[in-house]
């Protein structure tokens, strides 16, 4: 059977757009961002959105929309300088904002937003690492959220005093260091391949994990969840090994 050029052209278009249409109808065409997919699956907080699903790619506006927390509360809690529009401030930029003003064992990043949201809304949250929050966030939680004595005690022990002037200075130098792809910081997007690449040996890695060497392409966080390890502890131990190796 012979076919013409026009037939090939039409066939290609039909197969491609038909295939996409069928995939969409079947619900397997996932070209949208993680956020949009979550948005489609859940209708806000009432439908059971889990603070643990907040990702670094979420903007404050999106966190606000999903969890019903006023945008200005988020901005105040995390001490966003007035020059930063909270609508377009992304959680992934938290570490850049606070990185320069915290000590080595402290971190205020996407997990801190998850923790704050969980306490503010009263939604359940599985805390897997030490959490630190700025004084402003703790003040808001104490005045607006229903906290248990245990939570208040934990917050008191994990409150970080930050000078707003230091944050402005950090913003001024933001960028190059934080977005340096060679930075050796264990975080949510780090794979075992990264850690090996930073000089940690397989033997040391297996000692931390107390088991066999996992596939190198898996996210450390996902692996810990899968095998029931405390991600915060593994992360801290691996960071020590990485720092020593470099």
């Amino acid at each position: 059977m012979k076919i013409k050029i026009s037939t090939l052209a039409i066939s290609m278009l039909v197969i491609i757009f038909g295939g996409i249409l069928i995939a969409s109808v079947l619900g397997v065409w996932g070209s949208k961002s993680e956020l949009e997919q979550i948005n489609a699956r859940y209708d806000g907080m009432d439908a059971g959105l889990d603070p643990a699903q907040i990702r670094g790619s979420f903007s404050f506006a999106e966190v606000s929309e999903f969890f019903g927390i006023p945008l200005d509360v988020l901005a105040e809690a995390f001490m966003l300088p007035e020059t930063v529009d909270p609508q377009y401030f992304y959680n992934r930029d938290m570490e850049a904002l606070f990185g320069a003003v915290l000590t080595e064992d402290q971190e205020i990043g996407n997990s801190a937003v998850q923790y704050f949201v969980a306490l503010y809304t009263g939604l359940p949250y599985q805390q897997s690492e030490e959490m630190y929050l700025p004084q402003a966030a703790v003040d808001i939680l104490k005045s607006q959220a229903e906290l248990t004595d245990e939570q208040i005690a934990y917050l008191d022990a994990h409150t970080v005093q930050i000078d707003p002037g230091d944050l402005l200075a950090a913003l001024g130098t933001d960028g190059e260091e934080e977005h340096d792809q060679n930075e050796a910081v264990v975080k949510g997007t780090t794979t075992f391949y990264d850690v090996l690449n930073w000089g940690v040996t397989e033997t040391d890695l297996m000692a931390v994990l107390n088991g066999e060497m996992p596939p190198t392409n898996i996210l450390i966080r996902d692996y810990c969840t899968q095998v029931g390890l405390e991600y915060g502890i593994v992360k801290a131990e691996l960071q020590l090994l990485v720092d020593a190796a470099r």
């Binding site: 059977m1 012979k2 076919i3 013409k4 050029i5 026009s6 090939l8 052209a9 066939s11 290609m12 278009l13 197969i15 491609i16 295939g19 996409i20 995939a23 397997v28 065409w29 996932g30 070209s31 949208k32 961002s33 506006a61 609508q87 377009y88 977005h179 997007t189 794979t191 391949y193 990264d194 596939p215 190198t216 392409n217 898996i218 996210l219 996902d222």
Partner: protein, 278 residues
């Protein structure tokens, strides 16, 4: 003898040009909209998917990870997987028509090549020594093996840092690695002397789809009984395949552009055609 005029040929091939321009604009618009959407200014009713979500090669590089861990490589979406399946389906039927008809990077190289033809005239696309060229044509399989291996062990989209397709549609964003911009620049520069240099020598996805030329359902065939040995089919082939010496094109480099066929450049009707059968 029923002859096909050049005018009729160029009219038939206009469909390919229209589809190439359409897909180039579609991908460009989605890439721009992706950037706009990140600033909250996205265009309604137009997808703002990331470029990684629209690349079927993303599906190929994530196969290993999906099989071993059940997850996708970072930045890869389900849509990449779906597009990979669709592209494989078209390749089984028509060979690498995705390369010849849809791939915007291939189209851009062709458009740069039109300028190259004016500069180098007859020497255009014939500048690489034949022996060297023959060996280099397999280098894209080395690129493919490297990309698959590195992605498999790292779980990261290693190729994105060198991908000229990603650089082409994201050159304005901070997401593009300098490596990608350099490869894109070199590709466009070489396109002035060689037709589709990236496709011929380096494209890992072209390497994958090229294998379909060995078993595709609709093949490009030449009828020796009606062929007048004018060699126009060979001269027209952007991938320098010697169509005039073959009866069935099984060359792994064929991109199914159909420029060699009797509807396009071949002056004799039903002599070079796209058809089933052995």
């Amino acid at each position: 003898m029923n002859k096909t005029s050049n005018k009729k040929g160029s009219k038939a091939m206009r469909a390919r040009t229209v589809i190439q321009v359409f897909f180039f604009l579609l991908v460009a618009l989605i890439a721009v909209n992706h950037s706009l959407a990140e600033e909250g200014k996205g265009i309604p009713f137009l997808s703002d998917a990331s470029l990684h979500a629209l690349c079927p090669f993303g599906g190929v590089v994530t196969i290993y990870q999906y099989a071993t861990t059940g997850t996708f490589v970072q930045k890869i979406h389900e849509s990449s997987f779906i597009l990979m399946i669709i592209a494989f389906l078209t390749a089984i039927l028509f060979g690498p028509a995705f390369c010849g008809w849809l791939c915007p990077l291939g189209s851009v190289q062709e458009w740069f090549g039109k300028l190259g033809r004016k500069i180098f005239k007859q020497k255009y696309n014939n500048l690489v020594p034949a022996k060297l060229d023959r060996v280099l044509r397999y280098s894209r399989y080395l690129v493919l093996i490297w990309v698959l291996y590195m992605t498999a062990i790292s779980g990261q989209l290693i190729f994105a840092d060198y991908d000229p397709y990603f650089a082409l549609f994201n050159f304005w964003s901070s997401e593009v690695a300098i490596g990608g911009l350099i490869v894109l620049g070199l590709t466009l520069l070489l396109s002035l002397a060689v037709e589709r240099p990236w496709c011929k020598y380096a494209c890992p996805y072209g390497a994958v789809l090229g294998i379909s030329n060995l078993f595709r359902v609709f093949k490009i065939k030449r009828q020796p009984s009606t062929c007048i040995n004018c060699n126009l089919c060979t001269k027209q082939c952007p991938m320098n395949i010697d169509v005039a010496s073959k009866t069935t094109i099984k060359d792994h480099q064929c991109i199914s552009c159909l420029e060699c066929t009797s509807e396009a450049v071949c002056p004799v009707a039903d002599t070079v055609t796209l058809q089933t059968g052995r």
